[in-house]
């Protein structure tokens, strides 16, 4: 699974990285991300997750070849 992060999340993770272990949903992904950087807990609570051009929730079944986008709160405009 590929993971892309943006904005302030880049201070916690590299912008793009791959996870080898099987991850079935966003809750499992959060656990994996915290294992990489335990200090990211607070910002991850505010984030949403997306695959392709749509947001996903924990019911979405992640697949091995998905690219998951981690979306921090917006600050456009």
């Amino acid at each position: 699974m590929k993971v892309h992060v943006y904005a302030a999340l880049k201070e916690y993770f590299t912008p793009e990285f791959e996870l080898a272990e099987p991850i079935r949903n966003t809750d499992e992904l959060k656990v994996c991300l915290l294992a990489i950087n335990a200090t990211a807990g607070e910002i991850l609570k505010t984030c949403r997750f997306a695959v392709e051009d749509g947001f996903i929730d924990n019911d979405f079944k992640l697949k091995e070849h998905d690219t998951v986008i981690i979306v921090p709160p917006s600050s456009g405009g």
Binding site: H4, Y6, A7, D53, P72, P73, S74
Partner: protein, 213 residues
């Protein structure tokens, strides 16, 4: 910056063929508003051309055109800002802006609606985001425009990094609605929830949803 163009009352009452002159710089033909992205990508790494956008915002059925330009100022929260840098998750940001515009077009019966947001470094005074709304009368154009910019700021996956004159930088000014709503997908907007009744008597649409993504 908000610029509003409104024809005279007499022109608003005129039939469409006489409401918009055929002179240079105007576009009398209604535009296909299903998707602006061919001409004006929703997310742009290039400077936003407000003149060209406005040139494409005229419609014979529209007596009012409102243009909002969100511009980079040189200070924020007491700090001197050198420039801003924006990034976005383009596929989702473009889809969301397109959907926000389409929803606003239907709710406020807009003839024209356009929006673009910059990514990359944006200098002080330059435009970071533009929203143009054109409608028969000004109340709809103003209301829709403010609603659109609110939703883009709160919802679209676009982020700004502030670069300060002291050499530091900071990602910030994030939407913080989740701390109130308890849901990262629910937002609180500055605008009133839709022009269900206005001082002009315009029987506007029902309140737009507080959440769509």
């Amino acid at each position: 910056m908000t610029l509003s163009l409104s024809s005279l009352p007499a022109a608003e009452a005129d039939p469409p063929e006489s409401a918009s002159p055929s002179g240079a710089g105007t576009s009398a033909e209604p535009k296909d508003q299903s998707d602006q992205s061919a001409a004006f990508p929703y997310i742009s790494a290039e400077s936003l051309d407000l003149v060209e956008l406005l040139r494409n915002a005229h419609h014979p059925g529209a007596g009012a055109v409102v243009l909002f330009s969100g511009e980079v100022r040189d200070n924020n929260r007491g700090r001197d800002v050198a420039c801003l840098e924006y990034e976005s998750y383009g596929p989702l940001a473009s889809k969301m802006i397109r959907d926000i515009l389409q929803e606003a077009k239907e709710k406020w019966n807009l003839q024209i609606v356009l929006a673009q947001h910059r990514i990359g470094k944006v200098a002080i005074g330059d435009t970071a985001v533009v929203v143009i709304t054109a409608s028969a009368h000004r109340s709809e154009a103003y209301a829709a425009n403010r609603h659109i910019i609110d939703r883009i700021k709160h919802e679209a996956p676009i982020w700004k990094c502030e670069y300060y004159t002291d050499g530091t930088h900071e990602w910030g000014n994030n939407c913080n609605c989740h701390s109130i709503t308890g849901d990262n997908a629910k937002h609180i907007y500055e605008t009133a929830p839709g022009p269900s009744a206005t001082s002009s008597g315009y029987p506007g649409p029902s309140a737009p949803p507080n959440q769509s993504y």
